[in-house]
Symmetry: C3
Amino acid sequence: DSKKLQISSRDGNWSIRFGGRLHLDATIVDDDVTQIGNGAEIRRFWWDVSGKIAGDWKYKLQVGLENDQVRIKDAYVSTDLGGVSVTAGNHKEPYSLEELTGSNYITFIERGLPNVFAPGRNIGLSANTGGDNWGIAAGFFTDGINNGGINNQTTDWAVTGRTHYAPIAEENRAVHLGVAGSYRGVENDTVSFNLRPEFNDGRGIVNTGAVNNVDKMIQVGPEAAVVFGPFSLQGEYHWTTVERTAGLGDADLEGGYVFASWFVTGQSRPYNAKKGTFGRVKAENAIELAARYSTVDLSEASAAATNGEEDNYTLGANYYFNPNVRLMLNYIHAEVDRVAAGTDEDIDAVVSRIQLDF
Amino acid sequence: DSKKLQISSRDGNWSIRFGGRLHLDATIVDDDVTQIGNGAEIRRFWWDVSGKIAGDWKYKLQVGLENDQVRIKDAYVSTDLGGVSVTAGNHKEPYSLEELTGSNYITFIERGLPNVFAPGRNIGLSANTGGDNWGIAAGFFTDGINNGGINNQTTDWAVTGRTHYAPIAEENRAVHLGVAGSYRGVENDTVSFNLRPEFNDGRGIVNTGAVNNVDKMIQVGPEAAVVFGPFSLQGEYHWTTVERTAGLGDADLEGGYVFASWFVTGQSRPYNAKKGTFGRVKAENAIELAARYSTVDLSEASAAATNGEEDNYTLGANYYFNPNVRLMLNYIHAEVDRVAAGTDEDIDAVVSRIQLDF
Amino acid sequence: DSKKLQISSRDGNWSIRFGGRLHLDATIVDDDVTQIGNGAEIRRFWWDVSGKIAGDWKYKLQVGLENDQVRIKDAYVSTDLGGVSVTAGNHKEPYSLEELTGSNYITFIERGLPNVFAPGRNIGLSANTGGDNWGIAAGFFTDGINNGGINNQTTDWAVTGRTHYAPIAEENRAVHLGVAGSYRGVENDTVSFNLRPEFNDGRGIVNTGAVNNVDKMIQVGPEAAVVFGPFSLQGEYHWTTVERTAGLGDADLEGGYVFASWFVTGQSRPYNAKKGTFGRVKAENAIELAARYSTVDLSEASAAATNGEEDNYTLGANYYFNPNVRLMLNYIHAEVDRVAAGTDEDIDAVVSRIQLDF
């Protein structure tokens, strides 16, 4: 068991565990209007150290390499205060089932298009509690990592929360219902959304450019999932209202996805009813087939020529050599409908990934 | 004990130990002339590996993440040659009690203003020896880390030394006396000093700008500390003479600090009489209160509008959950007296830190 | 034994091992036309994690710090498929004996001048197989690391292979014969070669500048080595043909080196007949003397004033404290013969290195 690869003190109150992941992608693109090209890349090269201190303090320090730069991922300490788990540092805001499901465990190579609305990791303080089949989490977050001092730092902030309930939470059967919301103050007036197709084109083929005169954003995202033996269904929808000053109206952005997965070899997607997320498929030589439809409409946000609406149709096949190594293959058909006339396009891509984590 | 979190060979001659620290800060500033703003940041995210090779060689490789860049901290090998410990690589020049006391062990969130004069880490070769209650260290250092080859490298260099003596060195009582000096050749003619207030404003609210036509710098810094049960006092003073060519006179820069600390819960600040530094407070649920006065005068260095003199008054309270986790709260009142008229200012700040190391 | 510094599961099918290296250099240069200067640097500060997953999957994640940036070195997964070892990810193309011999094991501080022709690490898929005294490896590689997505990525690619045979492969006697070749498509039309002298001047004192209108490159490199007790000889030669479009002729670049090594204290250079590379000298208090001649001629590649031919004569002495710590001293005499008249120069340098790895 990989869990054994850690160092612990005799009494179990102190421990240190090392982890890492390597995601190697190769992508072939049939581009249309926008030139994209083919390529191979190290999509994720992450290291982490986590552990326990004095029995009741946990920590995690994790970095990822991107473009020869180191990005801080998880960097937090947490402890229990009367049945409530409190976390301080850089960590994911409690928002979106697919975002909260780790990149080693997601069903497709990239998360669906609506992931553009997920805040992801920021510096903050959060608390969560729950029972065997439900949970609630909320936190206060500020701008992401800036460890060069507070000088000239924009002081955006957000309050974000999520709750989930699992009316069924058995080993191979589960029903997940959840909803998350976020209220986001925007003190520097500007936001932008970069919407990549469901492969890493590295930029966001649909993007709003800078949206100015923004006062705040309000986000809501319901989510649901069903596991029935080897079959599972999962979906989310996100509404984001961008409220603007200077007499400008609100911009309503939205999008959702739904996908189905089938383990040909009979396994089940492992649902964690406490956390309300999916986890590691503990299988050898397992085969999974999946299909997803995603759609996002950013067109109210700006009149930029690059802005618009995008629909993605993705087919996926995964081969699990063992719980820590899998091969993934995705075919993505992306339809882009831009606000500017005459720049619509259809893109097709085939992406393969070899993924290992420990 | 956290010391057990290492891997050793059976004979103990080979070992590898992992360490890390996470300092999470939140800062609220009542600024005056200079706009600073509020913010949260990951002040330190450090990883290190250290160990022993073949019994008599030690190494340490340590990095810190700052602004999404990796900074090499300690990167050295050391061994004993006839009772003298010799260290080669990137390490701290032996200068200043507070600088040589690790950032996990300092009493306030930031070191005092005079830390602007401490050379910190550079690449060099140093030697140190001593007895149970005294020590002497000296080294030759060149410019800090540049591992892109020697091309276009400025070849500043320095000879730095420090000695300390502890007439009293008991478990809860100690008297520390020390003095350090540094002679620094400046081959590229230019130096600058950036003086932050005692919170991380990220730039140096008082700074000399580029001081040109510099030939060399001479630094001297006496230091003293007293521990008497839960009470302790500590102070340093630093003189830096910047000698200039082209008929320009010398600039005399100087500054010092003094602080008092009291463990309400009765513990003592742990003095290491061999190293002449302070170490980890091995306590649970301990409370420490502290007050510091710092002053630095850079005004002779340049006529830059940002240059001048700064006084800081800092109050601190620390709560030690256990030896590896502490919560810190500092209130800082900074008075800035610039060389240019009409730009003096008073700044107040409150900083909190949650700090964990392993 | 340093091999014990790893964490393994009870059944040995899962493991994690930590490694690192620190190379500290100091260089004194007697420059001539080009101003170089003296300096100290951290030449290598590398960390890695490697291990086994589920018995039959191996991985390695390795980074090096350079100029405060993190560079991904090895980042691969590998497994055996019917006696053939298959590797995917960032790894060294199978080309050049000296390149494939790790930087901890090379005889001189820097590899010889012809190393300018070695492709080094790139992202790709390779396979290798062999017997006790022979091996063959081949792979398909694309541009090096780009993990910022495939956008705007040049899609250069290469097919590279190498085979070796050791007619003698005993403990202290060996004969190595090998040859490697590479066919390299250049889709963005431009290549360049930066030829450093055999110390790290950080730029390439002879360099071709951008060579445009390149269609492809074909490389061939025979290699040989002999170990006879404490004596060894090693040499390589490389031809690189740069084929150009637009009616431009081919540029033929070439170079080689030969060196001799003698362990005064009687040890032998350890040849690995399976891999066809040299490994760790497992000795304490061993002394090695060595001399090398290298030559490279890039002059057909461009008419740039910085381009030309370079010969290096290097003398080296190594002291092995133990298998993991060595002190190196090299004297390098470099003769540069540029294509532009009047810029020839002779450079002398003395470089010392303290090297530790674990």
